[in-house]
């Protein structure tokens, strides 16, 4: 409880720093706040659009968190989600299937593709001792090249001037449903399922225990016979699979076709979200929401203000990550200040 208090305090300090920079640039902080707020919350439409950003961010944040639980750093979420998307697209174009089965097929296809893409970094880490970050980054490049090849040479829509594939069959399309005036993409169910599984695994299943022990002290886990190597590979694949689900969200709910470069680096932002979340599910949702608001607001800054561009969104993201991550340091600082005062008074008594 106390920790989250200091994190909130640090976050507020970060916001104040952002506002003072805005003021320094000659723009009104109040205007800035209003633009940021209205970009996401002014109308039901804006809020629906926000959901389309928050859903993939939640998934990539979750993906990085799962690997992190087992002591691994999945920097390859970007590649895994692209591969997941191409898999969903290929299934959607090539396999004729009726509605509920088609969705199931595409979703599991994108999950499997992402998992397979994460298999190699996980396997090399567990059995070869090389670092998963190196392989993860390299697999990202391979993923870009591979999906580029598939898009341009195998599934290219000859009628389109853009680098994109044919559209998927209509039986694969998921149209949004509307609730209290907000249109919600059906991939919300995918996210809920993933979050539910995450809670189930980390709180109630022995697999979650295995991940946790492997992540916290792999040596002790190995001494007491836990299958740590399998755990590392499995955690990496699970992480990759969750990142792959972003692909099915994007293809089935949004674009209905694969377009090269569709992801505004969801995979990398997922790392920041996972770090901010502090390992809790609620924290994950909050962090993904925050980054959604920031990304959406940055676009509006371009239009609504004179002196601030969308690049300033990156500055805000950076400042807020730094500020929130320094929550524990803030706590230590406050505590040692208290100690110092207490000891001063003690010394006077001596």
């Amino acid at each position: 409880m106390k920790n989250s208090f200091y994190t909130m305090l640090a976050f507020l300090i970060g916001v104040l720093i952002c506002l003072s920079i805005v003021g320094f640039l000659g723009e009104s902080p109040m205007l800035f706040l209003r633009v940021m707020y209205e970009a996401s919350f002014a109308s039901y439409e804006e809020f629906s659009e926000l959901l389309y950003i928050v859903i993939p961010l939640t998934l990539t944040g979750l993906s990085v968190s799962v690997a992190y639980k087992a002591g691994l750093f999945n920097i390859g979420a970007e590649g895994q989600l692209v591969v997941g998307a191409i898999a969903a697209t290929a299934i959607g174009i090539l396999i004729p299937a009726p509605a509920p089965f088609s969705i199931l097929l595409a979703v599991s296809g994108s999950f499997l593709a992402g998992a397979l893409w994460a298999f190699l970094p996980g396997y090399f880490r567990a059995y070869g001792g090389s670092h998963e970050v190196i392989h993860g980054i390299m697999m990202n490049f391979v993923a870009m090249a591979l999906t580029g090849f598939i898009t341009l040479y195998l599934l290219k829509d000859s009628g389109s001037p853009h680098p994109d594939t044919y559209a998927i069959r209509t039986s694969y399309e998921m149209s949004p449903f509307s609730w209290a005036g907000i249109s919600i993409p059906k991939s919300a169910w995918i996210v809920s399922g993933a979050l539910f599984s995450y809670v189930l695994i980390s709180k109630f299943l022995t697999v979650g225990y295995l991940f946790k022990m492997t992540g916290l002290n792999i040596q002790a886990a190995a001494v007491y016979g836990l299958p740590v190597k399998k755990a590392q590979v499995f955690a990496m694949m699970l992480s990759g699979g969750i990142a792959g689900l972003v692909g099915s969200h994007e293809i089935l709910c949004v674009t209905h076709r694969f377009r090269i470069g569709f992801s505004p680096e969801y995979g990398y932002v997922g790392i920041a979200i996972a770090m901010l979340s502090g390992g809790s599910t609620l924290g994950l949702l909050a962090a993904a929401g925050l980054f959604g608001v920031l990304q959406k607001g940055a676009l509006a800054l371009d239009l609504e203000t004179d002196r601030i561009t969308r690049d300033f969104g990156m500055v805000i993201q950076g400042i807020l990550i730094l500020a929130t991550a320094s929550g524990p340091a803030l706590k230590r600082g406050v505590n040692s200040l208290k100690d110092w005062i207490e000891l001063r008074s003690m010394r006077i008594k001596i």
Binding site: Y209, V223, L226, L343
Partner: protein, 525 residues
């Protein structure tokens, strides 16, 4: 009983070499040192005694300038000093010999000795001949044998320690601080160390020894300050002091050592059979060179010896944890299971428990809760088709916490918050909870406070009563003498002695730990 050293020094009317005045150091809400005051006389050996976590190390770090006190001050030669760094401390003649030696392995003893304060000339650079001369003088003066052209990595632990001490002397240290100096030495080397320290004392050096070994204090120190929970609990002159007095001041209650009976059970069934076991590391280095022994149910077999003589390799080969560059030969059998060809998981499932030497590194997961640690290696027992049986685990954890008097007593408390002794209790609780057929224990009481030592020793004997076969590896001879039924002495990968309870021979043991095989081992005391 509580004699105050300050009275003695005022009687002799001499300014003490060193004085702590109400030194306080706080970490968070925890007082590592709380108003610690004591005086150390010039030309004396002064022991700082206390259990782990009593604040000894903090006090010495303050003295060596590694940490600044939050309140209070240090007085050196009657003048108040502020030490900002170890360099500061060295400049004022304070030298520290760390428990883990700070030597460069690949360089010669001479280079290590002069490192940082080399005799230097513009023409020649480092004046090696002059340095050699200085050292020959120093060694002659102290009647020491040091092979100063040898590389550190080829030296024994005792020799390394001598170089550390020489290093301090070379830097003109008047006060020498030794942190747990005997922890890694064989009995022979310990005797040698104290002879040397007494020679230094005769030259007027002041020596501070941090230790938790009562025997050393009684035999070698002139005065002792006992720390408990960060405060000075007692200060004594050593003459006429008894073991019981000191123990009581240190742990705050009477100390009863545990002593095993001579076991007269005749129906001993071998549980662990090891025959000509050899472990080769790399191309040809034999870390373990053909050891053979048996452990029967209801029997404790001890392995004595200075650390790093093959004990680690023996335990790793018995638990399926050998590194990839280590190869085995020979036989190791646990009931019908061939240990050398089995996976760790299978060995544990067969009924073996392992209490590793490095409990924080591989015995426990410090950032997990107590109950999660109790589940380590016993996932099958506390789960049902992949689901954790959390209620059952919780009740088992509560029972164990009560049984072993573990603190903190919440099952969901993080283990990092527990003391060394309580952490070790968790390891024992977990491993004994399974009623193992075979129990491998390495250094069970290292870094554990005396109160917990008693609990742990009782539990080991308890497990023996229940019929477990126990292999106990320890470098604490006293521990082995009080627990083991049979005792092997290990040196350089071989057994150099074998003793049976009732026929332990201290002299032979001491020789053998130094690697010397004696012909008539096991002669009656």
């Amino acid at each position: 009983m509580k004699a105050d050293v300050s009275q003695d020094s005022s009687r002799s009317n001499e300014i003490p070499k060193l004085e702590f005045r109400s030194v306080t150091k706080k970490f968070g809400n925890f007082y590592a040192n709380r108003q610690v005051s004591f005086k150390v006389n010039r030309g004396s050996i002064h022991a700082i005694l206390g259990e782990n976590g009593a604040g000894k190390s903090t006090a010495m770090k303050i003295l060596y300038g590694m940490q600044a006190p939050d309140a209070g001050c240090l007085v050196l030669d009657g003048k108040e000093v502020r030490l900002r760094s170890p360099q500061d401390a060295i400049a004022r003649g304070i030298g520290m010999i760390h428990q883990h030696f700070m030597l460069s392995e690949k360089d010669s003893a001479l280079d290590n000795l002069i490192l940082g304060s080399e005799p230097w000339s513009i023409i020649q650079g480092i004046e090696r001949s002059q340095a050699t001369q200085i050292f020959e003088d120093l060694c002659q003066k102290h009647a020491l044998q040091v092979r100063y052209h040898e590389r550190i990595e080829r030296m024994s632990v005792g020799e390394r320690q001598r170089i550390e001490i020489l290093k301090a002397v070379y830097r003109k240290s008047e006060v020498l601080i030794l942190d747990e100096p005997t922890a890694v030495l064989s009995p022979k080397e310990i005797v040698f160390l104290f002879e040397y320290l007494k020679a230094l004392k005769a030259q007027g050096k002041t020596i501070l020894i941090i230790t938790h070994k009562l025997k050393e204090v009684l035999e070698h120190a002139d005065a002792v300050t006992v720390l408990k929970n960060g405060t000075v609990s007692a200060a004594f002159k050593v003459g006429g002091l008894s073991f019981e007095d000191l123990a009581k001041a240190m742990i705050g209650r009477d100390w009863k050592p545990v002593q095993a009976e001579i076991s007269d059970r005749k129906d001993l069934r071998p549980v662990l059979k090891v025959d000509k076991l050899t472990v080769t590391r790399g191309a040809r280095y034999q870390a373990l060179a053909g050891v053979s022994f048996q452990v029967c149910s209801g029997q404790i077999v001890g392995i004595a010896g200075v650390e790093g003589n093959g004990q680690g390799e023996l335990l790793r080969s018995l638990t399926g944890l050998l590194k990839t560059n280590e190869k085995t030969q020979g036989l190791a059998q646990f009931l019908e299971l061939d240990l050398l060809k089995s996976e760790t998981q299978d060995i544990l499932n067969k009924g073996m428990s392992y209490i590793p030497e490095d409990r924080q590194g591989c015995g426990l997961v410090l950032d997990a809760t107590i109950e999660e640690n109790l589940m380590l290696g016993q996932t099958g027992r506390y789960s049902w088709y992949g689901f954790i049986r959390s209620k059952w685990l919780r009740s088992a954890a509560k029972r164990v916490i009560h049984d072993f008097a573990i603190k903190p007593d919440q099952p969901d408390a993080l283990l990092r918050a527990a003391s060394g002794g309580n952490q070790q209790k968790v390891v024992f609780a977990r491993e004994l909870e399974r009623s193992p057929k075979l129990l491998l224990i390495a250094q069970p009481t290292r870094g554990v406070d005396l109160g917990a030592v008693q609990v742990i020793h009782e539990r080991i004997l308890d497990a023996k009563q229940k019929g477990a076969a126990i292999l106990l590896v320890s470098s604490e001879l006293d521990e082995l003498l009080s627990l083991a039924d049979e005792l092997y002495v290990m040196s350089e990968g071989r057994f150099v002695g074998h003793h049976v309870r009732g026929q332990f021979n201290m002299d032979n043991l001491a020789y053998q730990m130094g690697g010397i095989e004696t012909t008539h081992s096991g002669a009656r005391v």
